[in-house]
Symmetry: C2
Subunit: 263 residues, 2 copies
């Protein structure tokens, strides 16, 4: 990340994204501010998706839902335009990834509903301040994310596996990581699993399904959090006519401090 981006306020960061000056992952941007996953679907799919979130709150903690056709946030930020204030999007037609644009103005329709879900980047600063290493920040990378063998609870046409993010740490710091992240229920809360990756169906930590691999040092254990990329896995299987999401790790950054969400 260029040095000039490291001190931006959320509003400045969103403005830079709208100008196309920030197009990569947001892991190190605006530490301590709530970041959010984005899913945009036609109104016809909105009930299934809302129910999927209700039934799977750990990977899908809903923070805000906009009205059909309305591109402007109200809660996470006042009046941010969902069509260009993320660094990068993914555009899916019938479950197939077709494009990764930096804005979606040309795709907007009056029946599109925007959903924002909590993101674990929101508590990385709190982990760090508690003495828990956050390797992807240390290495200046996106967080590694993996599909697991754990199914979500289906809702209507939506089903699919849990996706997790991973942070490696010395085993004796796991309780502290659980304690600290557990306070952030609306951005995935405590980890869902730690230890042997095979236990949740992950074959190779060095080859994440999304994001970037990070170094795991001797004596460290991988710790896994539910991840807001989970809906993308469900949408790949359900194959709606159109879906627009954030690109993994390229999040919406709101004006609210992470702590506020659970207050």
């Amino acid at each position: 990340m260029p040095a000039q981006h490291s001190q931006l306020t959320p509003a400045q960061a969103r403005a830079a994204m709208a100008r196309g000056e920030i197009t990569g992952h947001t892991s190190a941007l605006c530490p301590g501010y709530a970041q959010a996953n984005l899913v945009i679907l036609p109104r016809d799919w909105a009930y299934d998706f809302l129910l999927f979130c209700q039934r799977n709150p750990k990977p899908c903690p809903l923070l805000e839902v906009l009205d059909p056709g309305d591109p402007f946030t109200r809660d996470l930020a006042q009046g941010a335009d969902v069509r260009d204030t993320l660094p990068r999007y993914r555009v899916w037609y019938k479950g197939v990834l077709r494009d990764e644009p930096t804005d979606i103005r040309g795709l907007w329709r009056d029946d599109l509903v925007s959903f924002f879900l909590g993101c674990s980047f929101s508590f990385d600063l709190a982990l760090k301040q508690a003495g828990v290493p956050v390797r992807h920040l240390e290495q200046g990378r996106n967080v590694p994310m993996y599909r697991t063998s754990r199914p979500n609870r289906p809702a209507g046409r939506l089903a699919g596996p849990l996706v997790v993010s991973m942070r490696p740490m010395p085993a004796d710091l796991v309780p502290r990581a659980v304690e600290v992240s557990g306070r952030y229920a609306r951005t995935h809360g405590a980890p869902v699993y730690w230890g042997d990756p095979a236990g949740i169906g992950i074959v190779d930590l060095g080859r994440p399904d999304f994001g970037e691999a990070v170094e795991i040092r001797p004596g460290e254990v991988p710790v896994f959090w539910a991840c807001g990329v989970t809906p993308q896995a469900a949408l790949m299987e359900a194959r709606p006519e159109l879906a627009i999401t954030h690109a993994p790790g390229c999040m919406f950054i709101g004006d609210r401090r992470s702590e506020e969400l659970d207050a």
Copy 2:
């Protein structure tokens, strides 16, 4: 409440309701078990309602949503039939209350979606154990509930005022009541207001809009919690073709301890 009902398990209570032997409010039944508000709507209204709950989580903490046409619970209890395991229902046609039956088998349709919302009865035992008086239990009554002047956030066709339940207590116990109920976020959590009822548009505590009035002793202040009757007020205004709810205070009683919901 007849003495023989005071020691029932939730499953026994639901069976007695299905047989028509319990037809009144549930405030004193199954202390410590999660109780739930019920809203049943045609599928066409389900998205608006789910979004209304997402936008107003304090009065509408969603615990479980059944699939269209499915009358059987999975989470709150295994296989309880929503059509007869509540003591009493309210049936609304175009926003007008038409009937208060003790079962709704004859009204069931394949497009009906059942929503369960947390109820503050779930923490009355915890309040009592913390030394906070629970007057409606002391007096063997339903809890008093009031419409307020506070609007909810609209969602689609749904809008309406916040409805609250009220428990009077000595002023010095309010902090304890806040602390204890605050642990039960999924059954309304901490109070939304206490003190002068006029501050939230309540004219006369002696004349609740739902439930029964309770005694307020000298030196006591009224404490108000968000209430799951709130959706009924919204449905009266939105006037869907058909809505079925629990009768105020006549709740669904699940098999889960109240503490489990927030675990």
